[in-house]
């Protein structure tokens, strides 16, 4: 392990101050399932871990019918997928958080960590994008700003956070009436693997036609992608074999995958279309079931 120091922040401002003072090698420690391993394997230089888990705001899990769902950045996956309200209103989020690593990873790993690690294959990120989530970022000197998850990651392992900034919470808007969402990934095993491709879709259907659509794909580009062309292929039209095929074709066109040990360019591009089609159909079924995204 690198010769690093450990500090526990009591509140948001102390965390921002510790991160700013610690310089570029100060890293936020939440669940630690990525960053501790990266520090040990010297994939990231770490001089200081700032443990934020004792800050109440980063452990929040609260739903309000007007404001939506607030998930603290360090709230572990198991608390999200075991929560009755999340299970009822945000099943796509349950699908994504239930398969991040195995049980022992889900005991610690968080949405904030998955997002800030900024892996192109991060499983929860397409779900957050499709559900139109935004993050609250705290910075030095009491600074606060909000950034859409769709605009957060800028490349593999890279994101919009500046020195001293960290993600406090993730806000999901309340599900619209007549909406539904679904998430899915492809892995060669049954569990415990990193996505070859993943996707999430959120649809609102009014009067038999799609009135709003948000579709995101992951592991097929340097960052997860919000697919505006695929959404445009659906909005104003009924969800039919033709419109679903058009959205899937738009997903394949938008994908910019790489060849690596997990999959080839050809396979990943194909999967982007398949997963968009599947998640659209399941999202539509959920929308019809009673407006549950």
């Amino acid at each position: 392990m690198q010769n690093l120091k450990y500090a526990r922040a009591r509140d948001i401002d102390e965390a921002a101050r510790l991160l700013a003072e610690g310089g570029p090698t100060a890293r936020v420690l939440a669940g630690g399932t990525d960053v501790i391993v990266q520090a040990r394997e010297r994939k990231r230089p770490v001089g200081l871990f700032v443990d934020i888990k004792k800050i109440a705001a980063v452990q929040e899990l609260r739903y309000d019918a007007a404001a939506g769902l607030t998930v603290g950045a360090a709230t572990p996956c198991y608390r999200i997928y075991e929560d009755d309200v999340v299970r009822r209103l945000y099943p796509a989020l349950v699908e994504a958080t239930s398969v991040v690593g195995g049980t022992a990873i889900q005991g610690r790993a968080s949405l904030g960590g998955n997002l800030c690690n900024s892996s192109p294959a991060a499983d929860t990120v397409p779900a957050m994008i499709a559900l139109d989530a935004a993050v609250t970022i705290a910075g030095p000197g009491g600074g606060r700003r909000t950034v859409a998850v769709a605009a957060f990651c800028t490349g593999p392992g890279q994101n919009v956070l500046a020195q001293g900034e960290f993600v406090v919470s993730i806000l999901f808007p309340p599900p619209a009436a007549g909406s539904g969402a679904a998430w899915e990934r492809f892995i060669p095993r049954n569990e415990m693997d990193i996505a070859v491709a993943n996707a999430a879709s959120c649809l609102r259907i009014e009067g038999g036609r799609v009135s709003a659509a948000r579709i995101a794909i992951g592991a097929v580009a340097p960052t997860a992608l919000l697919l505006e062309d695929a959404a445009a292929a659906l909005v104003g039209k009924p969800l039919s074999d033709e419109t679903v095929a058009a959205a899937a074709a738009a997903a394949k066109a938008a994908a910019r995958p790489i060849d690596d040990m997990r999959g080839s360019i050809k396979q990943r591009r194909h999967l982007a279309g398949v997963l968009v089609e599947r998640t659209l159909r399941r999202a539509a079924a959920r929308a019809e079931e009673g407006g549950r995204p």
Binding site: M1, Q2, N3, L4, K5, Y6, R8, L29, G31, G32, T33, I36, V37, R40, E41, F49, D51, K53, P76, Y78, G101, G102, T103, A104, I105, G107, R108, N190, E191, M192
Partner: protein, 155 residues
């Protein structure tokens, strides 16, 4: 100095700020049940229960457990053997044994919340524990039989 409840006992121990919980357990506290396998969160050989939840102790910093409760394989049965340990022995649900402490702790965490898991639930719960010897079948069968024994159900 870190204060934590380790296997039910209030414990104070010294650890370096860069020690993982796994390193502190093994090298500072002499609790060598948790094993270092991959040391990167994939194999589950170092699994412990931290404040009631299963975690990989290689992915926890020792300093994080201040005030927390940690249970290792040494603590799953205060007296004698836990039913899981008994069944693992009787049914030979192990070969080389390196993964066994992690499987026992993970299986205990499952049976603590679900006394009657299905085979699918056992397999999914234990997906983060790797065994390179057994092919898993004997481990899964043993967990199901231990669960039945603990429920008092016919085996």
């Amino acid at each position: 100095m870190i204060r934590a409840t380790i296997n039910g006992e209030d414990t104070e121990f010294l650890a370096d700020e860069r020690d993982s919980l796994l390193e502190a357990l093994r090298e500072r506290l002499g609790l060598t049940g948790a094993k270092e396998g991959c040391n990167n969160g994939n194999c589950g050989a170092c699994a412990v229960i931290l404040d009631g939840r299963l975690v990989n102790s290689c992915c926890v910093m020792a300093a994080e457990v201040e005030g927390a409760a940690v249970m290792t394989v040494e603590g799953i049965a205060p007296d004698g053997l836990h039913p899981l340990q008994q069944v693992f022995l009787e049914d030979a649900a192990l070969q080389c044994g390196i993964c066994t402490p992690g499987f026992l702790v993970a299986a205990k965490a499952l049976l603590d919340r679900n006394t009657n898991p299905t085979e699918h639930e056992v397999r999914f719960w234990l997906a983060g524990n790797l065994c390179r010897c057994t092919g898993y079948d004997k481990i899964v069968t043993a967990v199901l039989r231990a669960a039945a024994t603990m429920r008092g159900a016919p085996v």
